[in-house]
Symmetry: D3
Subunit: 134 residues, 6 copies
C-alpha cells in the first residue's frame, strides 16, 4: 500500500537505531509507529523529522502537551491526512483529550472551515483594526 | 474588492440589528468586524453563522477560550484565508496569546503540514494500534 | 503584482489575436478579461486553455449555463483563487444568478466544507449501499 | 477504521432517535447513512449538523435539489473527502443526475481547478470591471 | 470502491480503443492503468484528458521526462490524491528516479509546505524586488 | 499587512545577525527577502527554518538547483501561497528557468491538479502493478 518499503532489519542500521532509541526514551514506550519505520528509507529524512517533532512537540514549552496535540490534530484534519488523523487522535487521547474535548475540536475545525470559505467567497476586506502599526 | 456590498444603513434592518446587538453584548465591545457586515447581504446566512460562532466559540465549554482561538487560527492558516488569519491572530492575542505562544502555534502548523505531506507521499499504513475495537 | 507580464501589442501576435477574436465572438463582447492577457505569455497555454473553457463552458450541454457557472464558482472558492472568485461571481451574475442564489451557493460551499472536515476527522467508513456492484 | 465508534443501541438515546426519525421522515427512507451514526458520538454535533443539512439541502429554495447536490459533490471532490464523494455521487444520482451530467460536473471541477492554479501561478490582477462600485 | 464502473468490453468502443492504442504506442507498453479505464465512462473526457497528458508529458520539450514526472508527483502529493501518488511515484521511478532523488522530492514538498504555511500565517508582504516592472 | 512586525534594528540581535550573515554568504547576495525578516520575530523559528532551507535547497545534492526550485514553485502554487509564488518564481528564474520552462511548470501543475481531481472524483482503485512487494 505504501510507496516505499521500510528496510528489513531496520535497527541494524545504527542511524535508524539511534533515532528509534531516542523515540522510545522520549515517549517512554516501546511502540514505534509506522511513520518512523517508513521514513527510515532515508536516514537523513528520519533524523531531521524526528529532531523537529521532538523539539516542537516533546519539549516543555509555553503550550501544554494536550493543546499542542489538539492543534496538530486540527491541522492534520484540514490537510486531509488519513494516517495523521488516526495517529494524532490517538496521541491527543493519550495526552488526556476527553470525548467532549474531541467533539469540540471537531466543531471548531468544521466551523472555521465554514467561515474561512465564506470570507474567501465574499473577499471580505481586512478591518483596519486588525492591522499592526509600523 | 469584495464580491458583495454590505447594505447601506445596515442596522435599519431589524434582523441585522438583532445580530449586531448580540455580537456587541456577547463580546462586550462596540466593534463589529467586517465579516458580519458582509454576511448581512443575506440575513439567514448572517443569523446562522453568528449563532454557530456564538455557540462554539463564545459559550463556556470544555476547552478554554484561548485554546479555542488558537485552534481556529491554525485551521484558518491551513485553509489559507487571509481575512481569517488576520482576524483570528487578533482574536487569539485578545484572549491572551503571547508572542511565544504565537510562534509555537506557527511551529506546530508548519511541522504538522510537513509530516502530513510526508505521510501522504509515503502512503503510510495506519498502525493497528491506532484502530478502535468494535 | 503578477509573475509574468502580458506581452505588449498582444494582438500583433496572430495566434493571440485568433484566440481573442474567438473569445469575443463566443461571448459576444469586446471585453477580454485579464486571465487571457496573462496566459498569452505562452501561446500554446493560451490556445489550449481557451479551447477547453470554450468546449466545457460555452458549448450547449446537459447542464444549463448558470448551473455550470455556479459549479465553477464553488470550485474556485474551495481552491481559494481570489481572481477566479471575482471573475466567476461576475460570470454567474451575468448568467442570471440572483442574490438569493448567490447566498445559497455560499451556504452549500460552507456546509459541504464543514461536513467534509467532519467525515475526514471521524474517518467515516463508506456505506456498502454507496458502492457499485461490479 | 474510524476515530470514534458509534454508540451501541444508538436509538436508545432519545436525542439521537429524534434526529434519526427526522432524517427518515425528511428523506422518506429508512436508510441512515454512516455519517449520522458516527456524528452521534456527540448529540450536540449531530443535532446541529443535521439541522443545517436539513435547512440548506432539504428545504425548497431558489436552487433545485439536483443543482444543490451537484454543488455539494463538486465541493466534496475539491476538499478530497472520500466518504463525501461516495455519498454525494449517490445523492446526486438519486436526485436524477444522468451519466452525462456526472461527466460534466467532473469536467467543470477539473477545468476550474486547472484555471484556478494558473491564475494563482500568474498572480493575475483582478480586472476593474469585476469590482463592485461602492 | 469507485463512483463509476468502467464499461465492460471497453475496447469494443472504437473511441476508447483508439485512445488505448495510442497510450500503448506512446508509452510502448501493453499496460493501461486504471485511470484510463475509469475515464472511459465518458469518451469525450477520456479523449481530452489523454490528449492533454500526451501533449504535456509525452512530447519532447524544454524539461526532461524525469523532471516532469517529479513535478507531477509533487503536485499530486500536495493535492492529496492517493491514486496519483501511487501512479506518479511508479512513473518517476520508471523514468529513472533514484531512491535518493525520491527522498529529495519529499524533502522539498515537506519544506515548501512548511514555509508556505509560515508565509501565510505571517502574511508576509511581497518584496518589491520580486515585482516585475511594467 | 502582516500579523507580526519584524523587530526594529533586526541585526542588533546576534542570533538574527548570524542567520542573516549566513544567508548572505550562502546566496552570495546582500538581499535578505522579507520572509526572513518576519520570521525573526522568533529566533528559534528563524534559525530552524533557515537551517532546513539551507540543507535542502542550498547544498549540492542528487537534484540540480533549478529542478529543486521548480519543485518548490510547483508546491507553492498548489498550496496557494502568494508570497511564495512570487519569491520562488523569482528564485527559479535566478537559477536559469526560461520562459518556456516556466510555461511548462504551469502546464504540469494545471494538468496534475486536473487529473488529481478526476481520480478523486472517480475514486479510482490503485492498480496492483503500482504496489510494492513486501
Amino acid at each position: 500500500m505504501s510507496t516505499v518499503l521500510p528496510p528489513e532489519d531496520l535497527e541494524n542500521n545504527p542511524r535508524v537505531k539511534a533515532v528509534f532509541d531516542d523515540i522510545r526514551a522520549t515517549r517512554q514506550t516501546d511502540f514505534i509507529n509506522n511513520i518512523w519505520r517508513y521514513l527510515a528509507f532515508d536516514e537523513d529524512l528520519l533524523e531531521r523529522t524526528w529532531g523537529e517533532v521532538k523539539a516542537v512537540m516533546a519539549t516543555p514549552s509555553d503550550l501544554d502537551p494536550l493543546t499542542k496535540e489538539m492543534l496538530y490534530l486540527a491541522v492534520s484534519i484540514v490537510n486531509n491526512c488519513n494516517y495523521c488523523v488516526h495517529s494524532h487522535t490517538a496521541g491527543a487521547k493519550a495526552k488526556g483529550m476527553t470525548q467532549a474535548q474531541h467533539a469540540e475540536v471537531l466543531k471548531i475545525v468544521a466551523l472555521a472551515s465554514k467561515t474561512n470559505q465564506l470570507a474567501t467567497a465574499l473577499q471580505v476586506p481586512t478591518d483596519p483594526e486588525f492591522l499592526l502599526e509600523e
